[in-house]
Structure formats: structure tokens, C-alpha cells
Symmetry: C2
Subunit: 210 residues, 2 copies
DNA sequence: TGATATATAGACCATTTGGTCCATATATCG
DNA sequence: CGATATATGGACCAAATGGTCTATATATCA
């Protein structure tokens, strides 16, 4: 109901007539995302979210509905950020090999030290909730599919540029790389040395590229 | 204190003098493991564990201390099972290539359908707790290291048997394979087709073997 | 049999959980 | 100004959380 009224206000473009929202919803979602990212869904309690967003209970529930809805918003933000990076690094106008190298380098960056130990909200959510929570499952499956498409495209372009080793199939290589990258995010929990992760990622790509 | 008395009874080998334990502790740990495996640590509530183990609250707390201790026991069981499989499949007396193929096939098996959707207790725990829980972190890091050693050994033996492609370094290949396998467990949450996973795993190994 | 030790169900507990509600303050518009 | 709409802190809530305790039953050994 609330949602409908928001919709109609948006579509009719009437100026809001009461006190306008005085906090930045996007920023609040971002802060909530950080909390979920660091602690996981179940381990994040309302007080954590209130502290992070600096909202009162009332405001938070009025703005976002409930914990789960807020979580989905946070997850969507996280996914949107990941997609943006991906579309940038694997941009078809870029050299595909450079793109792939940059893409892997980004994962390496996020897989060492404190970044690594913090983990990946998407992987953590997949493991914690994807089985039980259909909304989460859909998002995870969709992101995964997109990732597969983008990486396979990059390999296809590399192939057309004659940069793939003999016997390398783009879609197969893409699936390998993707599993490798998710796995990096898991291994990262032990915060391995950056040089090691980078060398491993390079060694993998070197098996595909010539 | 309780622990000490148990120890002394074990070392002196005296017959227990009261009513003996009438339930199978190992079986109880196994059932608890299944619950944690399906739901994760935080999402598992005491009543879930009582139902699964068929123990009363009193018995469970007397036998295992608290939820966290029981969880560590369950995790240790899970790790022990994984180590047993690993030591069997990567046994030095076996052909290393056969061993590696069998090892990957096992992961593929566990990464499709219902098995896949259920996930991996170790990966889930790493993502959910490894950052905050030192006991869990140690176990994860230790298992990870062992896995790395075993797989690298298998690749080394394959190398000595002249079965590695040019330019493949055993320890590097091992790190790649391990990340790939953990990643498989993540991807498995979307329950991909078995044939696809198997083909991907084969394709990866084929990049290393000749 | 009697002493010892365990198992069990369930009462009980403080704390925390996610979530609602309300009185009050305040910012905007007509 | 007056109407409208939002923000806020905090009171409040039922349910669930992990955990303790006790009375009672029972299985073993000496």
C-alpha cells in the first residue's frame, strides 16, 4: 500500500506535500550493506543496523519494511557494484586479454589481507541463504549466469583475435575461471599473500592464452 | 573439571560405576553435523539440535557443553571425513592422474542436484564464521593447507611420471585446482547440471595433463 | 541391596530477537 | 498560518534465543 502511494507519487510527479525525507536512503543502504557484508545475514541484529544507518527503529522500518527487505536492497547494491566493475573491465571495446587480466586482478586485490578476510557478500549469502531463500537464490543464479556470459564473451573475443591456446573452448574456459574466482573468495578467508594469489591467477590464465 | 574426571577414568581404565551412557555420542555428533550442514551455524537453533540428536536439553549440555562446542565437534567430524576421502583418493600408491581424476569427480558428485544445493559445511562455515571465530579459522586454514599439500604431491608424482604438460608447476597447479574446487561448491548452490560440472573439471585437468 | 552415575522431561531464566506503536518535533507546501 | 507528511526516540511486545536446574527414573557395580 505504501509502495503504491510512492509509485503514484512518482508517476504523477507531484511535489511531496509534507516534510521531506531528511536522510540519504542510498547511503543508509550502503551502510547496511557493509554490516551484512562483515557479519552475515543472521549474525546481523537490528541494533547493528540502527547504529550503522544512524536511523531510529521507526524510520528504518518505515523506509525499508523489514530486515529481510533491507538485506535484499543491500545485496542488490552489492551486485550492482559488481556488475559495474565487470562491465567496465570486460568491456567489448577493450582488448579481451587485458580485460580478463584486469578482471582477475580485481579479484586478487579483494582476496588478500583484510579485504580477503572480510569475504564476499555474494558468496557468503549464497552459502548462508541461497538454499532456503528464493529471492536470494534468484539473485545469485542470475548474477552467476551474467558473469558466465561476460567472461565467455571475453574468451570468445580473445579466440577471434587468435590469442587462445589450442584446444581452449571459450565457454569451458569461462566456467573454469568463474569457479576459480569464487574459490579465491573462499580461500581468501585465510588471507593468503597477495603475490601468491596473483601468481596463481596468472598461471591459470596462462594455461588458456598464448 | 568434568573433562579431567573423564580423562582420569580413561587413563586408569576403571569401569564406570554408575549408569552408563545410553546414547551413541558419535551418532549424535553426526546428526548434529547434518543439521549445521543444512542450515548453518547461526540459523540452527537448540530445538533443531535436540530434535536431530533426540537428546534432552540436559543431556546435550552435559555431553557437549554448549552449542559452539557441539558445532566444533561436528565440524571436526566433517573435516575428518573429508581428509579420509582425500587420503584415499590421493594415496601415493595410486596412479596420481587417476587419483586426481577421482578426487575431482568426488567434488563434481557433491556439486550437483540436491547435494550441491545443500552446500559444503566447510565452505559455509568459512564464510560465516572464519573471520570472527578463531577456532573455526584455525581449522579452516589447517584443512586448506593439508589439501594444498596433498594435491601438490599428486601433481609432483604426475610430473615425475612425465604426465604433466610443459610449463606446469605442481604447486601452482594445486592452488588453481583447489580454488576451482571450492568455487565449484559455491556454484553448486544453483545446482548446475552434472554433465556440465564434470566436463568443466575434465577440461581443467586437461590443461595440466598430457 | 545400596551406592554411584547417568538420562530425561520440562520448568525456568535472562537476554536478545525482529517488529509495532506513539507522542512529539519539524520541514515543506498551499 | 494551517495542513500534510515525515523523522525520531523510546516504550512496548511476543517469541525465540542459548543456557541452567531439578526431580525422577534407571542402569551398572560392589
Amino acid at each position: 500500500m505504501v509502495y503504491i502511494s510512492i509509485m503514484s507519487r512518482q508517476t504523477t510527479m507531484q511535489a511531496p506535500r509534507g516534510r521531506p525525507r531528511s536522510f540519504d536512503m542510498d547511503a543508509a543502504v550502503g551502510r547496511a550493506m557493509n554490516v551484512f557484508w562483515s557479519r552475515g545475514y543472521h549474525a546481523t541484529a537490528l541494533p547493528d543496523l540502527l547504529r550503522a544507518t544512524k536511523l531510529s527503529r521507526g524510520s528504518l522500518y518505515a523506509a525499508f519494511g523489514d530486515k529481510h527487505s533491507l538485506f535484499l536492497r543491500a545485496l542488490d547494491r552489492y551486485i550492482a557494484d559488481a556488475l559495474t566493475r565487470m562491465d567496465d573491465e570486460l568491456d567489448p571495446r577493450r582488448d579481451p586479454v587485458d580485460g580478463l587480466r584486469a578482471y582477475l586482478a580485481g579479484y586478487v586485490e579483494r582476496a588478500c589481507g583484510a579485504n580477503g578476510r572480510r569475504g564476499c557478500l555474494l558468496v557468503a549469502t549464497a552459502m548462508e541463504l541461497a538454499g532456503q531463500d528464493a529471492e536470494v537464490g534468484r539473485r545469485f543464479a542470475s548474477f552467476f549466469k551474467t558473469m558466465e556470459t561476460r567472461v565467455a564473451d571475453a574468451f570468445s573475443r580473445a579466440e577471434r583475435a587468435g590469442k587462445l591456446s589450442a584446444g581452449v573452448e571459450p565457454s569451458s574456459a569461462a566456467r573454469i575461471v568463474i569457479c576459480f574466482l569464487w574459490g579465491l573468495r573462499v580461500v581468501a578467508k585465510t588471507a593468503p599473500a597477495r603475490a601468491t594469489s596473483q601468481a596463481t591467477a596468472d598461471a591459470l590464465l596462462d594455461r588458456f592464452l598464448r
